[in-house]
């Protein structure tokens, strides 16, 4: 049992940091509570370091084996965990000042003393860390129950974070909506997991994978897989489980929305990769593709998700809602990589690497767009909480009135559009190449056309700050006092530009991470029909 803990050092470190932050939340001293964000940051840095060094499969660490977790995509774990920690580090400054702002303003103006009961700060950050811990656990899950618990650990704190992210009723409404739909999604994939257990009599994913590849899929197993994938569509905000996205993103504060666009999505994609990886991309008599029905399901979901996301995004008048629908569309793009599968294992042909790289590219870029909204605000007349930027009108002329925020938005939305030479383009290109290599040319055309549809609203996101004159009410906008948010945005925009130039190192890492050792799992239960796949 202790041995199994050896590959969980990042989670352990992060959990320790979470506990410290929670205990700090009990302190009667204001300054101790203020330090909670820093502890969070240190925890994340340590976790990233541990993930990159101690996780099985990482350079210098032992090779992955069945005692240390899943063998479905074991090489993905170190990359995914470090990548998650780094993007979380980028999200952390964006979350500055999300909670307790009014209370702290009162304290600062000496109208009130520090009241420990009124401060949510430490709880907020510990929920953030809980969620990231859950996300790390998803990556290494080797058991369906573990996977379920990890997914829930990722999501449950986000419900609360949405609720307390602003004092408006809309946030609470969003949280409730998110919670109920999230519970439904969880129920669906839990049902799927249960069916898988029913089909194979085990919850160990390595064992299930070996059984699935050893024979034909029973109807029960197929139903289980499909239900699981459908439930996971909620996490990645894919059609038909996307309905909550726009309302929740709009209701949450921009920082939390940025987190929602990355954390549950990454959890969902890692889980989907594991679930699809169980049955494998070399299934069936030809040994060259996913099971037909599964491929069809993913194909339809991917095409619908991109199209619905992009088309609905065009219709929005709120920047946050636009970004929410764009986040749906990006899930659709990434599904192309999931369908494409590992190919011959090189970066250009490996859809898994493409998805992992895209998750990073999307995570980094996405922070910048939401940071632009979080960096500027409209003070309210009645002294209540200032409003973040939301409508397109607010964005008018932002590059002139608030250059930092404006340019973040311009650069990052062009990157989301996939305009070369920004990071988004180099994220999308592997999806193109892996899709073509897997023979999914119609889907790649759909992807291309959707990128073109997306141009319509990304251009708007770019043109309003850059090209429009500041509107009549732009003068009321003031910069948000939390400079950390600006830092997050600047880092994100800088990353979008610089990673495009120096992305090769990351691409190499994702090539390793995307290795799909089909033979390794299958060899635990060798079947005559599998020898061809093994030799490969």
């Amino acid at each position: 049992m202790i041995g199994r803990l050896a590959f969980l050092w990042p989670e352990i470190a992060l959990f320790a940091a979470t506990c410290v932050v929670m205990v700090m939340g009990l302190s009667r001293s204001f300054s101790v509570r203020k330090a909670s964000a820093w502890v969070c940051g240190i925890g994340l840095i340590v976790a990233a370091f541990l993930a990159a060094t101690t996780t099985p499969g990482a350079p210098g660490a032992p090779a992955p084996d069945a005692a240390h977790g899943q063998l479905i995509l074991p090489w993905m774990v170190p990359f995914a965990k470090s990548m998650i920690c780094l993007v979380a580090l980028l999200l952390l400054p964006l979350l500055a000042g999300t909670v307790d702002r009014a209370e702290e303003a009162r304290i600062a103006s000496s109208r009130a003393g520090f009241n420990p009961l009124r401060s949510n700060r430490a709880e907020f950050y510990s929920f953030f860390l809980f969620s990231i811990t859950g996300l790390l656990l998803v990556a290494s899950a080797d058991n369906l129950i573990w996977l379920f618990l990890a997914l829930e650990l990722t999501s449950l704190p986000t419900y609360i974070m949405v609720a307390i992210s602003s004092s408006r009723h809309r946030s609470q409404e969003a949280a409730v909506k998110y919670f109920f739909l999230g519970a439904m999604g969880a129920a669906i994939f839990l049902y799927g997991f249960a069916l898988l257990y029913g089909a194979y009599g085990t919850t160990n994913m390595n064992a299930i994978a070996a059984l699935m590849r050893g024979g034909t899929l029973s109807t029960l197993a197929m139903a289980g897989l499909m239900l699981s994938l459908l439930g996971l569509c909620f996490k990645i905000a894919a059609v038909p489980m996307h309905f909550y996205t726009a309302d929740v993103y709009q209701g949450a504060s921009a920082g939390v929305a940025a987190m929602l666009a990355f954390v549950p999505k990454t959890a969902g994609f890692l889980a989907i990769l594991l679930m699809v990886g169980m049955v494998g991309w070399n299934y069936g008599p030809s040994g060259a593709s996913l099971p037909d029905s599964l491929r069809l399901l993913l194909w339809v979901i991917a095409a619908l998700t991109m199209t619905v996301g992009n088309v609905l995004a065009i219709l929005q008048s709120s920047a946050k809602r636009t970004l929410a629908y764009s986040s749906i569309a990006h899930s659709g793009y990434m599904l192309v990589g999931v369908i494409a599968g590992p190919g011959d294992g090189s970066f250009t042909q490996n859809g898994i690497s493409a998805v992992l790289f895209y998750l990073l590219a999307y995570g980094v870029t996405n922070v910048g767009t939401f940071a632009a909204l979080a960096c500027v605000e409209r003070p309210s007349a009645d002294g209540s909480e200032p409003r973040e930027l939301d409508s397109f009108d607010d964005l008018r002329g932002l590059c002139r009135t608030h250059p930092a925020a404006g340019w973040m938005m311009v650069i990052c939305s062009l990157s989301l559009l996939g305009l070369p030479p920004l990071l988004g383009f180099f994220g999308k290109l592997p999806l193109f190449t892996s899709g073509v290599a897997a023979g999914e040319i119609p889907l790649v055309i759909v992807l291309g056309l959707n990128s073109a549809i997306a141009a319509f609203y990304y251009l708007r996101l770019m043109a309003y700050p850059l090209l429009e004159e500041p509107g009549v009410r732009s003068g009321e906008l003031v910069a948000n006092p939390f400079l950390a948010r600006r830092l997050a945005g600047i880092l994100s925009a800088g990353g979008v530009i610089s990673l495009a130039v120096f992305a090769n190192a990351i691409m190499k890492q994702t090539t390793v991470a995307g290795k799909y050792p089909a033979a390794a799992v299958a060899s635990t239960k060798a079947e005559p029909s599998l020898t061809a796949a093994e030799q490969r």
Partner: protein, 581 residues
């Protein structure tokens, strides 16, 4: 042409300046773009002029360094590792076609700055910074020897142009800019899928097929070989369709041309000049550089279809011009017609046609660019482009009128000016591109034509396209007749006839009646070039002999030997691929 696959490492050979000419050509405008963006606004236009002049000087140096005797070879090659995981490198090299287009870009740069000198008064830094970024991207398109580098520059031209149109254009500028962006972006996404497909086919080839085969690379020379050697007819047709989706929009060919008049009409003068002068050529250049060599077989097969599109564009564009009252729109639609000729020459697939087509790219850039300048200079004075409101300007603006008539003549194709030779060659090439006279007409089996090259076009195509020349003469001369000659007509109040022009930049109001020295300086180089290339185009022919000869030989090879037995080879590749799964 095929030697580009060998990696050339500048580092190994020590520092040699010729390795870096092309990088400099791209880097200088880009550097000046940043200097302008972060410099003082009142120095922006001077810096821009200086920057474009430096770039032009550098272009001149490179023009002289270029070995024109060996125009088919890619020179100044350099390759810098970039993203090897994706098979992308910063790989450069120019042949004489690219070199000529780079020269055109370098020439138009300073002229555009001069043309914008007084017209742009608001947000000058943004304007000139994007103008120079655009120039860098255009140079990048022509120097690229890596498909993705090409694609990156090709796509990046959209953003500066979008900004230039939507910030500095006239009334309907936002819609025009968005239409322009969406049209071209959609097309090029599909083209990207086609390019990636070719790269995938190459990656699946046996490693010993030729150098670079069997690896995932975007090197143009390698992919060209792979596409020629192993795509079946069906595959070539699909790739051609995808590539044409990107390039035909840019040209623009007939059914997808609708963004062009809008964008041209709304763009600021310099924007129109660049759009007509260089950006449209990115499309024809793309067809020449990629669509034709990658899918030669399909190109030969679908040449008549493309030719019909071109001819429709020629006639339809011309007829629309005939009824225009907006001068700028007229010149814009005339571009549709002219580019029709340009592509028609290309699809003729013989020496005359292709040479004419490439010359057309240059000449159209010179004369139409100049026409846009002329219209722009007039617009700056009268704030109208309507031929109903202005007329007889010869008496008021004699210098302007002289230039206007001169460039209209060049555009019409008056022998002795540059337009004639290229238009003539395009039509002549089309005429020649036929195995037989009048085959299939009235059931005849046709008679052999002396001097004809194999092909499916022929005299009928040339005849109908030739009608376009007459139409062009008609509409352009009508415009000259109305605007330059006749009784003087001016809009009532200076600059504000209808108050319908919602410019963000107001008239500076102190322009003299006729052209200033600055404006003459902007027009003069173009006029000289038109005249020189009209009277003595031989240097251009010599320069183009090499690359055109290779292209024609390539076409000939495919005609005679089929698709290099491509069908069999690819089939075996695909079998091997399926087998390994």
């Amino acid at each position: 042409m095929q030697n580009a696959a060998t990696p050339i490492s500048a580092a190994a050979a020590g520092f040699q300046i010729q390795d870096w000419w092309l990088v400099l050509l791209m880097a200088v405008p880009l550097a000046f773009s940043f200097i302008i963006a972060f410099g003082a606004p009142h120095r922006a236009r001077a810096t821009a002029l200086f920057g474009t002049l430096v770039a032009a000087a550098l272009t001149t140096v490179v023009l002289f360094q270029f070995n024109w005797g060996n125009g088919a070879a890619f020179q100044f090659q350099n390759r810098i590792a970039w993203l090897p995981s994706l098979g992308i490198s910063f790989s450069m090299g120019v042949d004489s076609v690219a070199m000529l287009l780079i020269a055109l870009t370098g020439l138009l740069g300073p002229l555009c700055v001069l043309a914008s000198w007084t017209a742009i008064t608001d947000r000058v830094r943004t304007y000139y910074a994007w103008l120079l970024a655009l120039q860098a991207a255009m140079v990048g398109v022509f120097i690229a020897r890596d498909l993705i580098l090409f694609y990156i520059c090709f796509e990046f031209t959209l953003i500066p142009m979008y900004v230039l149109i939507s910030l500095y254009g006239s009334t309907n500028r936002k819609r025009a800019a968005t239409t322009f962006f969406l049209y071209t972006f959609t097309g090029s996404m599909i083209a990207l899928a086609g390019l990636v497909y070719v790269a995938w086919v190459n990656a699946g080839l046996p490693k010993d097929a030729f150098e670079g085969a069997g690896t995932w690379t975007f090197d143009i020379a390698v992919l060209q070989q792979a596409a020629q050697g192993s795509l079946t007819m069906a595959q070539q047709s699909l790739v051609l369709l995808a590539l044409m989706a990107g390039f035909a929009v840019k040209v623009p060919l007939f059914p997808v041309h609708t963004w062009l008049p809008l964008a041209h009409t709304e763009a600021p003068t310099a924007g129109s000049v660049i759009l007509a002068g260089v950006l449209l050529k990115l499309g024809t250049y793309g067809i020449y550089r990629f669509a034709l060599p990658f899918c030669t077989g399909a190109f030969i097969q679908y040449a008549p279809f493309l030719a019909v599109l071109c001819i429709i564009g020629i006639l339809y564009g011309g007829l629309i011009c005939w009824v225009q009252t907006d001068m700028k729109k007229l010149v814009a639609y005339s571009s549709v017609a002219h580019l029709g000729f340009c592509v028609l020459g290309l699809v003729a697939l013989n020496t005359a046609g292709i040479q004419g087509s490439i010359l057309y790219m240059i000449n159209h850039g010179l004369s139409t660019g100049a026409l846009f300048l002329c219209v722009g200079f007039m617009y700056e004075r009268y704030h109208t482009r309507s031929m109903k409101e202005v007329g007889g300007l010869a008496s008021k603006m004699p210098i302007w009128a002289t230039f206007m008539v001169f460039f209209v003549m060049a555009s019409v194709g008056l022998p002795g000016l540059n337009g004639f030779i290229s238009e003539f060659l395009c039509i002549f090439g089309t005429f020649q591109a036929s195995d037989t006279w009048g085959k299939g007409v009235w059931g005849s089996s046709g008679a052999p034509v002396p001097g004809a090259t194999p092909g499916n076009l022929g005299p009928w195509y040339a005849l109908i396209a030739g009608l376009g020349v007459i139409v062009a003469a008609m509409y352009l001369l009508i415009m000259v007749g109305k605007v330059v000659f006749g009784p003087l007509r001016e809009p009532g109040a200076h600059g504000d006839a209808h108050g319908s022009h919602g410019e963000s930049h107001d008239s500076p109001g102190h322009l003299p009646a006729d052209l200033t020295a600055r404006e003459i300086t902007a027009l003069m180089p173009l006029a000289i070039a038109c005249l020189v290339f009209g009277l003595y185009p031989m240097p251009l022919f010599d320069a183009l002999k090499g690359p055109v000869g290779e292209t024609v030989a390539m076409v000939q090879d495919v005609r005679e030997n089929g698709l290099n037995n491509g069908a069999a080879k690819t089939a075996s590749v695909i079998d091997a691929r399926e087998g390994t799964r």
